[in-house]
């Protein structure tokens, strides 16, 4: 198959050369690993097969922390940057404010390309009304539970069925404690649930408790919102009950940034419940095809509360200094458009940001439909020019809280004190927008 494809490509390119046509080379960088990388490769191959005059080369760069774009920045400064880069969408505003990204409007020929996307994704792709990105995928978070592991621990899993709506955090904690197992040395060998593992972020619980992270009118970050403080307090108490260091010891093997997916504790059957994204469906298909598991809503603080999830996702940007901007935009429209998103959604179980694809029933099989139904009510992170800093500061505070190193309110006050001054210079611009 591969051979055939390359032969076809080769003959195409020879044919193209015969036509004495100028082939424009577009370089495309991503930090994504498997299984997403294969899907991206397939999209690039499809594009190249359909275009004689543009050839896209995909390069994988080493993954860094959530907000790290060192490789991109230094390459762009050195004049060796890519034409297209896959960037976490919530930090587009920050990178655009830095001057790292190109305004895409000149390439749109007056066409409102962004009109085809979900509203929140569109907002994340712009800064001060200027489009800097084309939204790619989106995702949502939910609670996965390993039915066999829970049953083995004596839990009746029918309670967790999404038909019954979300469970309370307190109930999840009770269920989790039934699964916990320690070895002779007093270390956890198996755990029911770690609220702050994987996608159990500050935003996850802040939203779940009904918190708001940003006040648009006042142009203020609001990490000390009472509901966010409550969320952090719940985490603090949970950690105190389990023993923060013992949980940390259990997690130690699973928190490396480059961990292969099959070593995920949920996939390995060492963790019975986990809050993570829709992509886990694809990972489980690949690495634990026999697992008997269910997906339900993110737990709620009080009985009767509505469950809240949040959506993130990635985007395609054109860095400054792209050598083939026209061809690059051609590719961006393709990958962020229907042909690219369709392949990506099918292969990786992420979700599309194109409104036209969201109602495509055949894209969302079975479990995937659950996430699709969460999207209309999903929250999203405020797309701010200091989005990366805000994320990192929240993450530091989050860590200090689940390690019981600092009281929640003090930790969050520190976030506000460190982030707000950095936001101030942008306030005039942001308020003019509203």
């Amino acid at each position: 198959m591969k051979l055939l494809k390359s032969l076809v490509l080769l003959s195409l390119s020879l044919f193209a050369a015969g036509q004495a046509q100028e082939v424009r080379e577009v370089t495309f960088w991503t930090a994504h690993g498997e299984p997403d990388l294969s899907a991206l490769r397939q999209i690039v191959d499809n594009f190249n097969a359909e275009h004689d005059d543009i050839q896209v080369t995909l390069s994988q760069i080493p993954p860094g922390a959530e907000t790290d774009v060192t490789r991109l920045m230094t390459a762009v400064r050195g004049g060796t940057g890519p034409d297209v880069y896959m960037l976490d969408r919530f930090i587009v505003a920050q990178r655009a404010a830095d001057g790292l990204l190109q305004d895409l409007s000149p390439y749109m020929d007056g066409e409102d390309v962004l009109a085809n996307y979900l509203e929140f994704a569109r907002e994340e792709a712009m800064l001060a009304g200027v489009p800097y990105a084309l939204p790619f995928d989106t995702d949502a978070r939910a609670l996965y539970y390993n039915i066999d592991l829970l049953e083995e621990a004596g839990v009746d899993t029918s309670e967790l069925d999404p038909e019954n709506g979300p469970l309370t955090l307190a109930r999840i904690q009770e269920i989790a404690s039934m699964v916990d197992q320690k070895n002779a040395q007093g270390n956890f060998e198996r755990m029911g649930f770690i609220p702050w593992h994987e996608q159990g972020w500050h935003y996850t619980y802040g939203f779940a408790f009904g918190g708001d992270f940003y006040d648009e009118v006042a142009c203020q970050v609001t990490p000390t919102d009472d509901n966010i403080v409550r969320a952090f307090e719940w985490i603090y108490d949970y950690a105190a009950q389990e023993g923060p260091q013992q949980v940390q010891t259990f997690r130690q093997a699973f928190t490396r940034p480059d961990l292969p997916p099959q070593q995920n504790p949920f996939i390995a059957g060492q963790l019975a419940m986990i809050i993570t994204g829709d992509w886990m469906i694809g990972n489980l298909e690949r690495y634990a095809p026999d697992m008997n598991y269910g997906i339900t809503y993110i737990p709620v603080p009080e009985e009767g509360d509505a469950s809240v999830t949040w959506a993130g996702g990635w985007s395609m940007v054109m860095p400054q200094g792209a050598r083939e901007p026209e061809a690059a935009f051609e590719f961006m429209k393709y990958i962020a458009g229907e042909p690219g998103q369709r392949v990506y959604v099918q292969e990786t179980r992420h979700m599309p940001t194109l409104t036209s694809l969201l109602d495509d029933a055949e894209l969302f099989e079975g479990r995937h439909q659950f996430f699709r139904d969460l999207l209309p009510t999903a929250r999203n992170r405020p797309p701010l020019p200091i989005g990366a800093l805000y994320w990192d500061e929240l993450t530091d505070a989050w860590e200090r809280v689940y390690l019981n190193q600092q009281e929640p309110r003090a930790a969050l006050e520190q976030v506000a004190a460190r982030v707000q001054p950095q936001l101030e210079p942008f306030c005039a611009q942001l308020q003019a927008e509203n």
Partner: protein, 299 residues
């Protein structure tokens, strides 16, 4: 330069000499001196790395003064250096003495002791992650079997820096080689005289070896200080500055300011502050060295 004019021959020789070291001169000017001066200018501006720097005077330095994480990162770095450098010198000295034993198979031992120093830090870091894993690591298994507590080296804010201090000892082989050269330079006659005077091995070490090694130790101390204050890669690879900022070292924070928050001005100001701190500490060590470094050569 001498005061009289150079003869044509000397001038030709000088030009030739300069020509031969020109690659270094050009490299130094372009890649060391220019960036140093450039960061000084940038440290007085707000600059994201793109567009034009905006002059803001001392604002970056003032912002650092009131930045809690800046002080925390400085504290972390001084703590690490204060432990890693002296321990490193003791370990290197022990290794050098081991390498200096009159055994037939000594080349093999030397290679074995030196090998970890030439491995890439990246690889060594990953080996260390495995060795110090609280669930499966050999080091931790050994500690537990000896009745010691099981420490989560890189996951516990109280121990993360110590874990990195341990890791730093794998690089002791480089210093050990310098020490070995120092040991070889000590005249045998001194030891013979000491034996005749009835000195045992400990006494010989304390009264002959150590005093004559002090110049080499001073050199290692200064070098170790400047390297220790710049600790970065281990924290970046293993702990990403965590847990709870415990390994957020000075240069790691500087890197984040530059490449995660696009604050090139703040990062440049930090670089200059670190330069001054390193200089002051090095001068302090030199100041005290008069008291403990022994420059007497044996005629």
């Amino acid at each position: 330069m001498r005061r009289r004019f150079l003869s044509p021959l000397e001038r030709r020789k000088l030009a030739l000499g300069l020509l031969f070291i020109s690659p270094w001169i050009v490299g130094f000017l372009a890649f060391t001196l220019y960036p140093i001066l450039y960061t000084l200018r940038i440290s007085f501006t707000r600059y994201s790395g793109f567009g034009e720097p905006v002059w803001i005077g001392l604002a970056n330095y003032r912002a650092l003064w009131s930045d809690t994480v800046f002080w925390q990162s400085l504290g972390n770095t001084l703590y690490y250096t204060a432990l890693a450098v002296p321990i490193g010198i003791v370990v290197a000295l022990a290794m050098a003495i081991a390498m200096n034993q009159p055994l037939k198979e000594i080349p093999f031992y030397r290679a074995a002791l030196y090998l970890p120093s030439v491995l890439p830090l990246f690889a060594v870091s990953f080996i260390f992650i495995a060795l110090l894993d609280p669930n499966r690591g050999i080091v931790n298994q050994l500690m537990v079997s000896l009745g010691l507590p099981n420490i989560n080296w890189f996951g516990d804010p109280r121990y993360a820096k110590l874990g990195l201090v341990l890791l730093a000892q794998l690089g002791a082989g480089n210093t050990a080689l310098v020490f070995l050269a120092g040991l070889k330079a000590i005249p045998k006659t001194l030891y013979e005289a000491a034996v005749l005077d009835g000195a045992g091995p400990l006494r010989r070490f304390w009264s002959v070896t150590l005093p004559l090694m002090t110049p080499v130790i001073l050199y290692s101390l200064i070098l170790g200080l400047s390297l220790g204050l710049q600790v970065f890669a281990q924290a970046y690879i293993i702990t990403n500055g965590g847990p709870a900022n415990a390994t957020n070292f000075y240069v790691f924070y500087l890197y984040n300011q530059a490449f995660r928050y696009s604050q090139m001005g703040v990062a440049s100001a930090m670089a200059w502050v670190l330069f001054v701190i390193t200089l002051v500490l090095a001068l302090l060590i030199f100041r005290t060295s008069k008291r403990w470094v022994n420059y007497e050569t044996v005629a």
